[in-house]
């Protein structure tokens, strides 16, 4: 389904849409408070953007450097060209250890690759251990936000879900009680897991180390107990030096949730003693993006700030995007992969530019969304109706006489058409009038008033005030 239909369904429940909007705006305001407390905030953004653009421009070199260093530290490095290969690699690692139970900390990449259903089909039990992810996993739905996967679910609904799956008391909705129940449940999962899988926030070329940021410590529990750690990363997660990390760690949590830093920033340099560390580096279309005018979308550090600030996302909900990464950044990344299915996403945007100003790595998000529309037009995916309308408009505006004629006709039509007809979906104005009143048509256009005023002046009249 296209975004507008899903968005309309979401906004139709005004109270809920408003609650969702406020929940995310609260996070945006926390971000503002945190960011304003850092005097060099804008310099940090500049620096992060420069580091990312530098890294992407030398991607191949840094990838090789990272691989060499990671191997020196004892990690096994795998390369996956696409989602299918990534999933096969993960499955093969698990099978080689006879692993049946996998605990995962949050990884948008594995969502992108649809790893969970693939592993489950192959007889592996997969438990998402991030609280929000566990909630959506139990509800059998995808995350609606990349940092706050269950932001669309109210605590009462979490209570119902936990009552059904974890045996909590019926009707319980106290966050502390529910979190404790989830904690006890997840501890058991950690203890009996055969392997742990994590995402990667930053991979450092200089050291071969990886850094994973969580608030719940679930990446540490998931990799500390089982002997096998699989870390999956998109190749754009690279940064050149350990020193660069300071820039990104200061930006990430402040932008994401308005915290000074994530509760856990865990550094992994090679496997734990007696264990194995597998790093799977995934392309899955990223090389193509790197070659395109949308390359800066690869600078994204997945903080989710663009979602929290997006007035459309907040009111339409993450699921309306039908995309692993929703919101502004998702509306660039996803149509690059599946333009036919996701052609409505770049238009789910008023081009307000708030995302661009909030982005910690200064991706010109709304300009990319603007460019993405042209990209889709090039693929003939903006819809024949709209295309025809724009051709017609362009033809009218290109001819001043025709524009003047059309303008007068439109104003006259607005004046004489009966309301029921004007506001019916049959007229072009009706689409506008569905939600709001159509502007009253003035008898004269500006150019007519202006010409009259000029003529009056030329005639030496002093009464040139009546034009308003």
């Amino acid at each position: 389904m296209a975004h507008p239909a899903l968005a309309d369904a979401f906004t139709a429940n005004r109270d809920r849409a408003r609650w969702h909007d406020r929940a995310l705006w609260f996070v945006r305001e926390k971000r503002d408070r945190m960011a304003s407390g850092v005097p060099e905030w804008e310099l940090l953004r500049e620096t992060a953007s420069a580091i990312k653009q530098h890294t992407q421009s030398l991607m191949a070199d840094y990838l090789e450097q990272f691989e060499a260093r990671a191997k020196e530290l004892g990690a096994v490095v795998h390369w996956a060209v696409d989602a299918a290969e990534h999933n096969q690699i993960v499955l093969a690692i698990l099978q080689s250890h006879g692993a049946r139970r996998l605990v995962k900390s949050k990884s948008m990449l594995t969502e992108e690759c649809h790893l969970n259903p693939f592993l489950e089909q192959n007889g592996i039990e997969v438990i998402d251990t991030d609280l929000g992810e566990r909630i959506v996993q139990l509800r059998e739905e995808p995350p609606s936000h990349i940092v706050l996967p269950a932001i669309h679910i109210r605590k009462e609904e979490v209570g119902e879900c936990f009552h059904e799956h974890l045996g909590t008391e019926q009707g319980a909705s106290d966050p502390k009680y529910l979190t404790e129940a989830a904690r006890n449940h997840l501890r058991q999962c950690f203890c009996r897991a055969d392997a742990g899988l994590t995402g990667v926030n930053f991979a450092i070329a200089e050291t071969g180390g990886i850094v994973i940021c969580t608030n719940e410590g679930n990446a540490d529990l998931g990799t500390g107990l089982p002997k096998v750690h699989i870390a999956c990363m998109g190749m754009e997660k690279l940064i050149p030096r350990a020193a660069d990390l300071s820039v990104f760690l200061r930006l990430l949590a402040r932008s994401a949730t308005g915290q000074p830093i994530t509760t856990y920033s865990s550094h992994f340099h090679g496997p734990q003693p007696g264990g194995e560390l597998h790093i799977v580096i995934v392309d899955n279309g990223r090389t193509e993006i790197l070659k395109s005018e949308f390359r800066r979308s690869l600078d994204c550090i997945r903080c989710g700030a663009c979602m929290n600030t997006c007035p459309v996302y907040r009111r339409s909900g993450g699921h309306s995007y039908e995309s692993t990464v929703p919101g502004p950044i998702g509306s660039i990344l996803t149509p690059l992969q599946t333009p036919e299915k996701h052609s409505s996403l770049p238009f789910a945007c008023s081009l307000c530019g708030s995302c661009t100003d909030v982005c910690p790595v200064k991706i010109p998000l709304h300009h990319q969304l603007f460019a993405m529309r042209e990209h889709l037009d090039g693929k003939r995916l903006i819809g024949t109706g709209k295309k025809l309308q724009m051709k017609l408009l362009s033809a009218v505006f290109s001819r001043t006489w025709l524009y003047r004629l059309a303008g007068s006709a439109a104003r006259l039509a607005l004046k004489i058409t009966p309301r029921f007809l004007l506001y019916s979906p049959l007229t072009p104005a009706g689409a506008w009038g569905k939600e709001r009143e159509i502007p009253a048509a003035p008898p004269k256009s500006f150019r007519e008033l202006y010409a009259a005023r000029r003529a009056q002046k030329a005639a030496g009249s002093s009464g040139d005030r009546d034009s308003r």
């Binding site: 975004h3 507008p4 968005a7 309309d8 906004t11 005004r14 849409a17 705006w25 503002d32 304003s36 850092v38 804008e42 007035p311 339409s316 238009f347 789910a348 945007c349 008023s350 081009l351 307000c352 530019g353 708030s354 100003d357 909030v358 709304h366 603007f370 042209e374 990209h375 037009d377 903006i382 709209k386 724009m390 051709k391 408009l393 362009s394 505006f397 290109s398 001043t400 524009y403 303008g407 439109a410 104003r411 689409a431 506008w432 939600e435 709001r436 009143e437 159509i438 502007p439 048509a441 003035p442 256009s445 500006f446 150019r447 007519e448 008033l449 202006y450 005023r453 034009s467 308003r468």
Partner: protein, 249 residues
């Protein structure tokens, strides 16, 4: 100084009094602006729809119409931003005339404060004014501080209106959230668009706004449509109209 007026197509057709207020205002500050008759639309509706081939003839027409002027002044941040920031793909690279016409295209408050450098505006406007920060003026032309960016910046609109006798400004809970107009977005995503506008109006109502103003009539067309539909008691005026009324032009 040869100054031309660029009046956006929808202002020409639906809000002629905003154009006339702009004329009166410029005259009051000693500027006789021409209105080149051949102008129509900057091409933004087509460009925002991804239809660059359809926008291109309008960009070319714009450059042609306004090539002989020192300044092209428009009471619309959004259309000015289209010309200044988004004509790259539409006009030939290295076309000096196009580059200059684009640079010389300025929004009304920019022209008054940064070109004419007017310092005090005298007039009376004894109302509580709610300023809607139109996004393109704010985040593309930087006519004011955007709430996301942690760097100080003056608001041109507040500077222009702030000196009027009796004027008060509303304190909004979200000072620069989008109204949800967004051109074809208003129709394509009608549900979200209407809710965005509704939320802005609610914010202005709780803040006690009597007169709602902005630098772009397009935002105000959408908000006024919602205000009328809901029967809200709030006057809607472009800031040029406020200045013209306050200065009794």
């Amino acid at each position: 100084m040869k100054v031309a007026l660029f009046i956006p197509c929808y202002v020409d057709q639906f809000y002629p009094h905003v154009g006339m207020a702009t004329v009166a205002l410029l005259e009051a500050f000693g500027v006789q602006a021409d209105f080149p008759e051949a102008q129509t639309c900057c091409g933004q509706p087509m460009a925002n729809s991804g239809c660059m081939d359809e926008a291109r003839p309008l960009a070319e027409k714009y450059i042609n119409v306004f090539r002989d002027y020192d300044y092209i002044v428009s009471p619309s941040g959004s259309c000015v931003s289209m010309v200044r920031n988004h004509y790259d793909h539409l006009v030939a690279e290295g076309d000096r005339v196009a580059v200059e016409v684009r640079q010389r295209t300025v929004e009304l408050s920019e022209f008054l404060l940064q070109v004419l450098k007017i310092t005090d505006v005298r007039g009376k406007f004894p109302w509580q004014v709610g300023v809607h920060q139109s996004c393109h003026g704010l985040r593309e032309l930087r006519l004011g501080p955007s709430s996301e960016v942690m760097a100080p910046r003056d608001s041109l609109l507040q500077q222009l209106l702030g000196g009027l006798d009796g004027i008060r400004f509303s304190q909004l809970s979200r000072r620069d959230e989008c109204c949800g107009f967004g051109g074809t977005f208003a129709v394509a995503e009608a549900g979200v668009s209407a809710m965005m506008g509704e939320d802005r109006i609610n914010d202005h109502q709780q803040a006690g706004t009597q007169v709602l103003t902005a630098g772009d009539m397009s935002c105000l067309m959408h908000l006024e449509g919602l205000i009328r539909r809901r029967g809200v008691n709030m006057r809607v005026m472009h800031f040029a109209e406020i200045l013209a009324e306050a200065m009794a032009l």
